[in-house]
Structures are given as structure tokens and as C-alpha cells.
Symmetry: C2
Subunit: 508 residues, 2 copies
């Protein structure tokens, strides 16, 4: 009894330290949010300096977290199996992050920060000028450093393991390859079938004149209706939509608007609201510890995609919202049937740009990037061949010719930021979403009927209870097994896509 | 030569430290701004915790600033007269703040923080319930602590000196008493004269239906026109208008709106824009040092009041803006002449509430508070007699009977926050404004004509050059002498008020 008390006290001490760091990280998040959404234009350099000072303090506090050996001691207890579940999660996660941090020397971190800071503007210029060679030396340097990072951090089988682990903890390169290959084997022929279908969808019918003020109101209505809580969150506008969870009681989404197309904003609002509902569902009593952190990027993306696609682009969802949107915007919607609307928002149309991709071909964009990243980190391709490799794959996967590197290998900002190993989580998220949703459909009685009546509470509660409330108590791999009874795989997503699109496009 | 280089290096080292602290203080300011303007309702406790962690870090960094004796060394050089003007300002101001900080033990600071934190909600309840006795024990404790603070910090003549010095550095109780007594001797009979005037002004004529969106646009137009820069600032809405200068390139104002009265928002927008133009005019190259800090609260208030009253309620100002506001809001303004408008926005009507007071009687509100605070800190009044003392003074100064303590002694939040010594700066600001403006009128050729043409650039430049750009290089007392040739006094304000209101109210 005395021993346990002693243990808890040590964990409490560690908790105090990580909670303080989390509060500071939360402030750091506010600085970013404010920069994207509120900050006056000219404050950019001043803000960068303020943020850097804060980042320095956070880094130092984290590095010093074990100054008295408290964390090391707890790690020993952990290894001896002497901690309870929650303590285990707190100590293991903190240790993991700490270990990674101390394995990377400051000189390395600074070098990476400097090169990626420069690389982002060079990348922007290269994309604008359609000049891959401009970006190549920076990319080479970044890839070199990311390979070094993998080496410093360590890995079992594949250096890419060490990178993917940051975003999707516990997932290996082989895991990802297996799942994504299965998916690819299904997707390429399926996309081809759809492109040959006689069902043609004209997305122009959704265009109209949608005053932004009215769009904002309608977007907020949808977000609130599906369960985003405006007492603990807000929605604003930014160039690139994002969600910032500062605290379970302070979650901020952004979306974006196009005057002629309200589905442009609705799509990103529902997506971000999915992220936001996750953040709002993290257990507030554990704020600042891994028990109140999201489990992985893939799991996070599963929440946004589940709301955006599985629910938000379902017939039932629009059965409920269609009369509402018609009332606000009689034109063009009075002229369009629910069935037409449903098909149009689910139009499949493989294209060059990932961020504009439909629900199916999006995954091929990710698979392409995953395959290239893996080889970049292995060192098995020459980076100057990247445009050719890219274009070849696009032709193979989508049947499209890439007219310029700006619309090809230069389209994404990620590599210039040093984000390698991040892309797979986008596709993984879709798989999690489908797998979770298949169980939810069984467990929530009459779910389709509920959706079509605008009753989303049980869905939100199910997600809260089965996913959000656990924080990082389980690994993503364990959670998906716990909730769905089997490891993550592509079967559910494939089945979901087949069911949905065979009907829409009348293919088999 | 070598010696000077060495000196500069020491100052540079100190600068690095204070600049870091200023960046953190700037972040702390953003937290407050966000809390008032953006933050979701339920995040209040989480935000308090985040802000407290940051405040703790800032406090520790400031307390540690002299850890290697660098500041003490510089202070010795300062005392020997070995620093140049800018170095002197940096070292003297930092030393002053540091000395005050180390003179107040942490236990004292914590005690004051705790009592004022509780006192604010008790005050709110007391005001709502019109129950002064509820607030009395908290006020007693706060006054006791503020007297202790004065003792700990030290003072020459009057304990209140130590408190006023925080807000109006260099000004003593005797200085303030002299100036404010002169003012009072003029104001009481003058207000009486006006109240007996046959000129009656009906402020209802300005009422109408002003949609908030259109008000926001018009307020931004005015603020931009007088010189508030939206590339380095923004305007939002909050319950109590305020200005937050995070950096010369990031200054944020708030204002407030009433649907039936656009002058309600214009008044506070122009006021806050005056504060904002000061913040934006601080020299950016010295950010983080006293050279880029505002000189005093009184000086700050002079900038807001100068724009709000001396300029913003002048006939010339409205000669320019009246056609514009008429175009946006034909009703009620098409029915009102410029002369009627001018007189109505300058209506004098002594009333119970400070924040609703007109340009003249406002100062009597302040004088009343100053006299009471002085005696509270001397210990020469029994706090339980405060309501009687208050009501007696209101009767004497305004000729009005106070119907309830909620509309009397309980109306202001300041004392519950521990802000004692702050009130005088509001009146002092009006005096600075009039004194500065009288010189500006002589130095800017044809100023009235320029205002009536909407040409405010020279005025802004004059304020930038004569006041803003100096930061804390001079004391407020020295600056006013440098700019106007004489110490701060009430003559200019009295002359301004006489000129303006003798005409409006046809009194002599």
C-alpha cells in the first residue's frame, strides 16, 4: 500500500511537469492559430520571434524533464510491470518522446530547422516557376537529414519505420506497405471501371451564388448539429482549413469559402468538425498528459473522414440537410433532386492534385507518395529522377499525363517542411474510418434512420466512448483491435467503396 | 574606444534578456486579448492555468535577470554617468522595475493575487445586490496590502506616491493634488453654469437603426482614416473596449456597438484608435526595450483622449465625416444639421457613472476617486464610511444624489483588482492631451482646415515624432516640458474647455 502511494507520487510529479509543458504547447498552438486566422499581415517576423522564444522554453523544459532521474526511475518501474494502465501510458509515452528528443543532438535539430525553413520558400518558387531543379538540392539535403534522423533514432527493419512512427506510432513500413498494396490492387481497376461507366455526373449543377455570410451561418449550423460544441470551440476562416485543439474546452476549426460553391466549404467544415469532435472528446480531467492526447494522425484523420465521407456524403445525411439548404438557397437546389445531389457530391474524377481528389482516387495519391518516400529513405532512387518516377506512376494509377511538375511532384508542401512519413496517415485514416464505421453501424440501432432525422448524438457518443475518451491509453493498433475485433486492414474500406460506388456508377 | 565597446556589449546582453521577456509578455497579452475577444466560453479555467504558467516563467526570468550581476554592474555605470541616453533609459527603467520586483516578497505577491482574484467576484456580487458591506472586508484587506506595498517599495512623502508611480512614473501625490485641485476649482462652478444654461441639447435626435455590420465598416473607415494601420493592427468587438499593443506591428483594438446609436461605437473606436496609433508609433527597432514602451498611462490616455475629444468631437472633424455618415445612414442624419450634431455629441450632462460621463464631468469623477484613494492609503478614513463620503462628494461636485451604492462607490472594478493609484491617470491624460494639442495647433499650419478635409497625416506624424518615437527615453514630466515648454498643468485643458463650451452653451 505504501509502495503504491510512493509510485503514484512519482507519477504525479512527472504529470506536473508534462502538464506545464502541455499548457505552454497549448499557448504555442494559439500563436499558430492566431497567425493563420487573426494576426495582422506585418506581424509575421515579430510573431516568428515570439514563437521561437516560447518553443525554446518548451524544448528546454522537456529536455530537463528527467533532471532528477524521476522519469528514468519510472521507466524502470514500467519495464518491471509495476505501473497500472494509466500510469503506464503516461510514462511510456513520455519516455518515448523524451528518448527520441535526446537521441537527436541539438546541432541536428537546428540544421533540419534551418534547411526546411529555407526549403519552404524555395519550394514555393520552384512550384510557381515549374522548376524542379531549383528545389532538388534542398530536397536532397532534407532527405539526407531524414535518413540521418532514422539512423539516430534507430529502427528494426526499415529506416522509414523511424519516420512513420512519429505520426502513426507503432505502424511499420511493412504494415503500411501490406495494407496499402491490398488497397492499390483494388483501387486501380475499380477507378478504371468507373471511368468507363456510362453514368456521367455534371458537378456544375451545384454552382450558384452563395453569399459568404449565409454560408458561414449554414456551415456553423451543420457543425453544431453533428456535435461540434461552440461553448468549447469556434469556427473561422483560413486559406488552408485546419483544426487546432488547444484543450478539450478550446478547439478551433477553420474552413474556407467559395462564393459559387457551398459544398466547397461544407466538405471542409464537416471534415474539420470531425477532427474537432475528437479533440473535444478527449478526457478533460487528464489534460496535459498522453491520456488526453489523440492516438495517432491516422486515427485523427479517421474521425474527420468518417464525418466528411462515410456520414457527410451519405444519402441519409442529405436527406436531413437537403430541405434545410434548399430553404436557405432555393437556387440552385430547388432544381436538383436529392438523388442528383447525392451523386454529384460523390462524383469520382481522378485528377492531378491530391487536395482536390475524390474519396477513392485520393488514396492512390497517397500510395504513390508512400512508395516514393520509402525509396527516397532507402536511397534506392536518384532524387533527380523524381519527376519521371512521379509522372510514370500517375499515368499508371490514374491514366493521366502530368503536364508539368507544378501539377506533379512539386504540388505538396510536405517534403519541404521535412514531413516524410506523414502522407500514409491520410490513407490509413480512411481505412480506420471504414473499419470503425462498420462496427458502429452494427452497434447503433437504426443508424441510417437516425442520420436521416438529423439525430447524430448516438454517433458522437459512440465515438467518444470507443475512441476519444481513451486518449493514448492504447496504441492505435490495439484500439482498432479492441473496437473492431481485428487489426487494421483494407477490407472494410474496399467494401464501403464498392457498395457505394457500384450503385452510383452502376458498375460491378 | 575599447571601453565603450565593452559597455555596449553589456547593454546588449541585458537587452537580449529583456527582449526575450518582452516577447513572452507579448504572448501573455495575446492570451488576454484572445480571452476577451475570441476564446470559447468554457475555456476560461484552462486559459487561466495556461496564462499562470506563462506568467510564472516571465516572473522567474525577470527575477533572474541579474543572476550574473550584469544589471547591477550597469546600474553602477549609470550612477557614474557613463551611459549614453538610450543606454541610460534601458538600464534605468529595467533597474527600476527590477528593484520594485525584488522588494516585494513572493508571499506578498501571492497574497495580493489571491485576495484580488476573490475580490473581483465578490465586488460583482456586491454591486449587483447593492450591498457594500459584502465587499468591505475584501476592500479592507486590499487597502491593507496596498499600504504594505507602499511601505515595502518605499516613498519620500506620501505612501500613495509609491502606488501612483507604477502608472504615472515620476508623478507624486503632491503633483497630482496640485494639478487636480486647480482643475476642480474651475470645473465645479463651470459645470454648474452649464447646468443653468438655457441651451438644452436632446441627444435622442442621434438615435436610429444602425445595423452592426454597417457600423463595423464605418468605424473601420474612421479608424483607418485618422491613421490606424490595418496592416499592423485589427479592430474587433468586446464588452469593454481596450487596446492591446503586442508589438508595433501587432496592435489590437476593440470597440462595442449599440444598434440604436452609432456614436456609442465611434466614440470608443476613435478613443482606442488613439491608443493604437501610439502603440503602432513606438519604434519597432527597439522592440522589447523601454525605448519601445509607452511612457506612462497618463501619456497613453492623452493619445486616446486627444483623438476622441480634442479632434474627434471637433466641428472640423465632423465637417469631414458628416457627409460620409449621412450617405451610409441617411436616417436620422439627413434631418440633423452639422451644428446640431456637433452640439449633441458634446452634450454636458453630469451623471452618476464615470464610464458614461461627458468630457468635462469625467474629470470630477476622477478627482473624487483620487481624493478618496489618497485618504484610504493614508489611513485617514474608515472604510466603512466610504459610501457616505462618496455620496457626499457626488452631491458637492455634481449636485446629484446617489440613489444606491451600485451607482456610487461600487460602480468601478478597479479597487477589487488592487488598482489603486490608477484613476488619476485618466484625468492627467486629458490635461496632457490639451497641452500637447495647444502646441500642435501652433506647429501644424492650417490644422483646422486639414482636419475638415480629412487630412490627418500631419497630426499623426507630429504625434509620432514628438511623443511616440521616444518610447521611455524621457520621463513623462520631461517630455511634456520638452514638447510644450512647461510642466504639466491644467491651464490648457481649462482654456480648451472654456473655449469650446462657452460657445456651445452660451455661458461665460
Amino acid at each position: 500500500m505504501k509502495f503504491i502511494l510512493y509510485m503514484n507520487k512519482k507519477v504525479e510529479k512527472l504529470k506536473e511537469r508534462i502538464v506545464e509543458i502541455s499548457h505552454l504547447a497549448s499557448i504555442s498552438g494559439l500563436l499558430s492559430w492566431d497567425q493563420e486566422v487573426m494576426m495582422p499581415r506585418k506581424a509575421i517576423d515579430a510573431r516568428a520571434a515570439s514563437a521561437a522564444h516560447l518553443a525554446g522554453i518548451i524544448h528546454k523544459k522537456f529536455i530537463d524533464i528527467d533532471f532528477d532521474g524521476a522519469l528514468t526511475n519510472l521507466k524502470k518501474q514500467l519495464d518491471k510491470g509495476k505501473l497500472d494502465d494509466k500510469e503506464r501510458a503516461i510514462v511510456a509515452e513520455t519516455w518515448k518522446e523524451f528518448e527520441r528528443e535526446i537521441k537527436l543532438p541539438e546541432s541536428f535539430v537546428r540544421e533540419l530547422a534551418e534547411i526546411t525553413s529555407k526549403a519552404q520558400s524555395v519550394w514555393a518558387e520552384a512550384r510557381e516557376k515549374n522548376n524542379f531543379l531549383l528545389f532538388l538540392p534542398y530536397l536532397s539535403e532534407i532527405v539526407k537529414l531524414k535518413r540521418k534522423e532514422a539512423k539516430l533514432v534507430g529502427y528494426k527493419n526499415h529506416p522509414y519505420d523511424a519516420l512513420i512512427d512519429v505520426y502513426e506510432p507503432g505502424m511499420t513500413t511493412d504494415d503500411a506497405a501490406k495494407i496499402l498494396n491490398d488497397l492499390k490492387d483494388f483501387l486501380i481497376p475499380f477507378v478504371k471501371k468507373i471511368s468507363l461507366s456510362k453514368q456521367k455526373i455534371n458537378s456544375k449543377i451545384l454552382e450558384g451564388n452563395f453569399p459568404i455570410e449565409k454560408q458561414i451561418k449554414f456551415n456553423k449550423f451543420i457543425a453544431g448539429k453533428i456535435g461540434f460544441d461552440f461553448e468549447t470551440g469556434r469556427i473561422d476562416e483560413s486559406v488552408h482549413p485546419f483544426t487546432m485543439g488547444l484543450h478539450p474546452y478550446d478547439t478551433r476549426l477553420t474552413t474556407r469559402y467559395k462564393k459559387n460553391n457551398i459544398f466547397y466549404s461544407i466538405g471542409s467544415t464537416v471534415h474539420e468538425a470531425g477532427h474537432g469532435i475528437y479533440e473535444q472528446g478527449l478526457p478533460v480531467e487528464h489534460f496535459g498528459t498522453p491520456l488526453s492526447e489523440s492516438i495517432s494522425l491516422g486515427a485523427h484523420e479517421s474521425q474527420s473522414r468518417l464525418w466528411e465521407n462515410n456520414i457527410g456524403k451519405s444519402r441519409e445525411f442529405w436527406k436531413y440537410f437537403y430541405p434545410k439548404i434548399k430553404k436557405e438557397f432555393p437556387l440552385p437546389f430547388n432544381k436538383i433532386s436529392l438523388d442528383e445531389l447525392y451523386k454529384t457530391i460523390n462524383k469520382i474524377s481522378p485528377s492531378l492534385i491530391r487536395t482536390e481528389a475524390d474519396e477513392i482516387s485520393y488514396n492512390l495519391h497517397i500510395i504513390l507518395r508512400f512508395e516514393i518516400e520509402k525509396e527516397m529513405i532507402e536511397g534506392s532512387i536518384d532524387l533527380k529522377d523524381l519527376p519521371q518516377i512521379w509522372n510514370f506512376k500517375v499515368k499508371e494509377y490514374f491514366g493521366i499525363k502530368v503536364p508539368s511538375d507544378s501539377l506533379g511532384v512539386l504540388q505538396d508542401v510536405h517534403w519541404s517542411c521535412g514531413l516524410i512519413g506523414y502522407f500514409p496517415t491520410y490513407a490509413i485514416g480512411n481505412l480506420y474510418a471504414a473499419q470503425f464505421y462498420s462496427v458502429m453501424e452494427k452497434q447503433i440501432k437504426d443508424i441510417k434512420n437516425k442520420i436521416s432525422k438529423g439525430d447524430f448524438l448516438e454517433i458522437k457518443n459512440w465515438l467518444n466512448k470507443n475512441i476519444h475518451t481513451h486518449g493514448k491509453l492504447y496504441s492505435a493498433g490495439d484500439l482498432v483491435k479492441k473496437v473492431t475485433g481485428e487489426p487494421l486492414n483494407s477490407d472494410y474500406f474496399i467494401k464501403y467503396i464498392e457498395n457505394k460506388y457500384k450503385e452510383i456508377y452502376r458498375v460491378n
